[in-house]
């Protein structure tokens, strides 16, 4: 709380918040949460049909337990875990200099604590379902011991008309040789404010595969800080953002290479309709010690309407000389020639557009690698279906 009191909420004057205006948040501060309902609305969305272990949280409070988890796996409420062993708190980052993280650390309600013992590999995904109706400060702590492997799914959704502020932070610690597939679907209610802070630390020989589908919330920010702390680690961070109306979504990634011979890739695709605003700020930082780093980053945005806005800042900060780093950014509209090609083959305009946009977004979806107890197709297919449904809705509104 002291960090938060010192820094306060960020404003657009601060470089890291240059394009994200937090005014809508002020209505929420200091307001107590509405009483939580006793049951969550039924889960929909891309991960609903996947066979997995599920933990459901309402406004950050765990509702059930998964009794049939294999030996060596713990998945309980963070509060319960801290009561058991207070020293776990040392693994939660305090959030110095990061207002939302420090606010979360100060006020946290609850969240998940996940721990895998060495060499434990989950054969099906673990799914964290976050249903929100009121303000919540949610904190997750994920700790993978050496060579442990799992797929972690997250779904974020809320009561359709609810107006709430969710501030979630996750600390992920991956010991040597651990593997984590981490796929998220952010489909908060249209009035919600959603802040997500991922703080991951990867040791040697780890593999992290992350994907976020952002489609909900009026104002959202996904901020990932990944520290590659060991050699020969592979980190992939990808996402698709689909916005409409007055939505604003901000993706901010800091990929810090601190050890030699690691690889990271980032692939983000935004599609923006209405007066929506997409923000991307990505920083690849290569420390002096991180020789032989191979880091890539790509952000592309499609603007579907004249009022949509895309702001991007793909940043490189390189202090080692034997590295391969590349980043690319582009923004534009659909290629008229490609559209014509499809139209000339008898595909109607809305379908042709949907096809081209889906192909554009698929660059990022195709990065999902699967493994760790789930097939890539099991994840990609429902995500593609969700993208297809969004596009059908969009194009019906704008073009038929």
């Amino acid at each position: 709380m002291r960090h938060y009191a010192k820094t306060g909420l960020p404003t657009r004057k601060q470089e890291a918040w240059r394009w994200t205006d937090l005014t809508p948040l002020y209505d929420h501060l200091g307001k107590p949460s509405a009483p939580a309902p006793s049951t969550a609305s039924p889960l929909a969305g891309p991960f609903a049909a996947i066979d997995c272990w599920r933990l459901t949280f309402i406004n950050g409070v765990l509702q059930n337990s998964s009794a049939d988890l294999p030996a060596g796996v713990r998945a309980i409420s963070l509060r319960a875990a801290l009561n058991e062993d207070a020293s776990l708190a040392a693994n939660l980052s305090a959030g110095e200099g990061a207002a939302f993280l420090s606010l979360n650390t100060a006020l946290l309600n609850d969240g998940a604590f996940i721990h895998l013992a060495p060499d434990v590999r989950l054969l099906k995904p673990l799914h964290l379902v976050f249903f929100n109706t009121g303000n919540a400060q949610i904190r997750n702590l994920v700790m993978l011991a050496p060579r442990a492997a799992m797929t972690l799914l997250e779904s974020h959704y809320g009561a359709p008309d609810a107006n709430y502020f969710v501030n979630q932070a996750s600390d992920v610690h991956m010991a040597e040789g651990a593997r984590l597939s981490h796929y998220r679907d952010q489909a908060e209610s249209p009035n919600a404010l959603h802040f997500q802070y991922l703080n991951a630390r990867l040791e040697a020989h780890c593999a992290y595969d992350g994907f976020t589908l952002t489609r909900g919330a009026r104002l959202s920010r996904y901020e990932a800080h990944i520290a590659i702390n060991g050699a020969e680690t592979d980190c992939s961070l990808n996402g698709v953002t689909m916005l409409d109306g007055a939505q604003l979504s901000d993706t901010t990634c800091v990929m810090a290479h601190l050890a030699p011979a690691s690889r990271s890739s980032q692939m983000f695709r935004n599609v923006l309709a209405g007066q929506s605003q997409g923000v991307f700020q990505g920083l690849i930082r290569v420390a002096k010690a991180a020789q032989r780093t191979d880091a890539r980053q790509q952000i592309k945005a499609l603007l579907l309407s004249p009022k949509a806005v895309q702001n991007a800042k793909p940043e490189l900060e390189i202090l080692a000389d034997d590295v391969k780093c590349a980043h690319g950014a582009s923004a534009g509209q659909l290629d008229e020639a490609a559209l014509f090609y499809l139209r000339a083959r008898g595909i109607n305009e809305a379908q042709a557009r949907a096809l081209l946009i889906a192909a554009f977004l698929d660059d990022a979806v195709a990065q999902i690698r699967g493994g760790n107890g789930v097939d890539a197709a099991e994840i990609r297919n429902p995500l593609q279906a969700a993208i297809g449904a969004w596009l059908a809705r969009q194009l019906a509104v704008t073009h038929v």
Binding site: E15, W19, K288, Q291, A301, L303, L304, S305, P306, A308, V309, Q310, N311, A312, K313, P314, E315, L316, E317, I318, L319, A320, D321, D322, V323, K324, C325, A326, H327, G328, A329, S330, A331, G332, Q333
Partner: protein, 484 residues
């Protein structure tokens, strides 16, 4: 594979080969040290300026007092004491500028000859007219008569204030307002001299115009102001060169350059910046904090910036284009070479306002020794910029493991019909290519120079002939460890 240790040492060594580091012993006249309203009045009086010019300077000075020095750039330097410098230094007897070359102190002429810039017209390469600025004053402007025949006005800005006040009044501060930023505001208050160019409608300037800046006196700042106006359908190519003596203390160079381009006109602005970069330990050198901005006001107008930044302890500048006229074009070609303890934070801004505006950015950064080089750029597509197009390419080359290369591009798109692309790569000097050259009998230094020249080719080819040769040499020399 990274560059081999011996290559790195070869590159880092011999930091003392700055060839323009001599001092000219010449009697100078200074304004009293420090900065206050009286100094501003003193400079204005020295230049025999009209009242409106003094008022403008004072407005800028008062605004400057309320401003804070910006800190956002990736450059580090001790707090500058703005009171501990001379804001006006002129060779004795230059109160109002010399009337002809015969009145110029021969010592000064020899200085320029030593720098390779003969001011005597008979000795000049035909085709380049020079305005030579020494500390705070313009020493001489060559080929004035010949340019006058074509209707081109090429003179020092002090003369322009006296002889063409209506034009200066209309355009000065129209691109970089006096309250624009800390260093530009300081410049507006105390600018001492600089160049004024006006190209009348339909005229293609018959020769390259150039300004050669030289800082000589110790403890002075140089604040020059350049204003170039290309009227409808005209064309001008303008070159800028700079050098300074080697001194242990840092000197501030805070210039402002404004370009105004009307319908169908084009300005090509090339800089080879070779200020003293400081010694191997990072002592001394020039702080080059410059505001350069061009406004494409008319339809089909074009501005092209080409810069080769090899000198200065710190380079902090962003030559920019405001693309207001429909179909206007902005180009930015840059090479920034840093060695030893140099720091560079440079790039460009392309503000697309008009329809079908296009911009192209090619930035090459080369860092060696313990230097830090940053590309920082903004491409902004405003809602009215229907069909705008931008392509940006930034490449960085690292030589050695103590230097850094950073890329900070900002992209803001507010029109869906715009197409914006950004690409960046960072890599090291390939040992394979070096081996190939060495195997064929080139020594390491020439091989590095050759490879770096190849890396910069895309930018070098945009320089006018006279500069391209010089720049190519500079690139080689700079990586010997000295400057380029």
């Amino acid at each position: 594979m990274s560059a081999r240790p011996e290559t790195i040492t070869a590159v880092a060594e011999s930091g003392e080969t700055y060839k323009h580091g001599f001092v000219t012993e010449i009697e100078s006249e200074f304004a009293p040290k420090g900065l206050n309203e009286d100094i501003v009045r003193f400079i204005s009086a020295k230049k025999q300026e009209p009242q409106w010019m003094l008022d403008w300077r004072l407005r800028a000075y008062r605004r400057w007092l309320t401003m804070k020095e910006p800190k956002w750039a990736r450059v580090e330097f001790p707090q500058i004491d703005y009171q501990d410098a001379y804001y006006y230094a002129a060779p004795k007897g230059f109160g109002s500028g010399p009337k002809s070359l015969d009145e110029v102190d021969p010592e000064l002429l020899r200085t320029y000859e030593k720098l390779g810039i003969p001011l005597n017209e008979r000795m000049l390469l035909a085709g380049v007219a020079v305005d030579a600025v020494f500390d705070s004053v313009s020493v001489v402007t060559t080929f004035k008569e010949k340019l006058h025949e074509a209707g081109v006005i090429f003179c020092s800005i002090s003369e322009a204030v006296r002889d063409h006040p209506e034009m200066v009044k209309k355009y000065l501060g129209s691109v970089v307002p006096y309250a624009d930023n800390f260093h530009a505001t300081l410049n507006s208050a105390v600018f001492s001299d600089g160049t004024f160019v006006y190209i009348p409608p339909g005229v293609r300037c018959p020769m390259e115009l150039s300004t050669y800046f030289r800082i000589n006196a110790a403890n002075t700042g140089q604040f020059e102001r350049t204003l170039i106006i290309a009227d409808k359908g005209s064309y001008v190519s303008y070159l800028e060169g700079c050098t300074a003596p080697m001194r242990d203390e840092n000197q501030l160079h805070a210039a402002v350059v404004e370009l105004v381009v009307l319908d169908d006109a084009e300005i090509k602005y090339s800089t080879v910046q070779n200020w003293y970069p400081g010694d191997k330990e990072g002592r001394g050198g020039i702080y080059n904090f410059v505001t350069k901005r061009g406004l494409c006001r008319g339809r089909n107008s074009k501005i092209s910036w080409t810069q080769v930044e090899t000198g200065s302890a710190i380079t902090w500048k962003y030559p920019s284009c405001i693309l207001k006229g429909d179909n206007s074009t902005g180009e930015f070609y840059s090479i920034a070479i840093t060695n030893n303890h140099q720091q560079a934070d440079t790039g460009t801004k392309m503000i697309h306002m008009g329809r079908n505006t296009t911009s192209r950015i090619v930035a090459k950064g080369i860092s060696a020794g313990g230097s830090q080089s940053t590309y920082r750029g903004l491409v902004s597509i405003l809602p009215g910029a229907e069909g705008a197009r931008n392509h940006t390419q930034c490449d960085s080359l690292l030589i050695g493991d103590k230097c850094g290369a950073h890329t900070v591009p900002y992209i803001e798109v507010r029109n869906p019909s715009a197409q914006v692309e950004h690409e960046a790569t960072t890599s090291k000097l390939s040992e394979e290519q070096l081996f190939y050259c060495r195997q064929r009998g080139l020594d390491t230094e020439s091989a590095v120079a050759l490879l770096v020249n190849g890396f910069c080719r895309e930018v070098l080819q945009h320089l006018p002939m006279e500069f391209a040769v010089e720049a190519q040499k500079l690139v080689g020399v700079s990586l010997e460890g000295s400057v380029g």
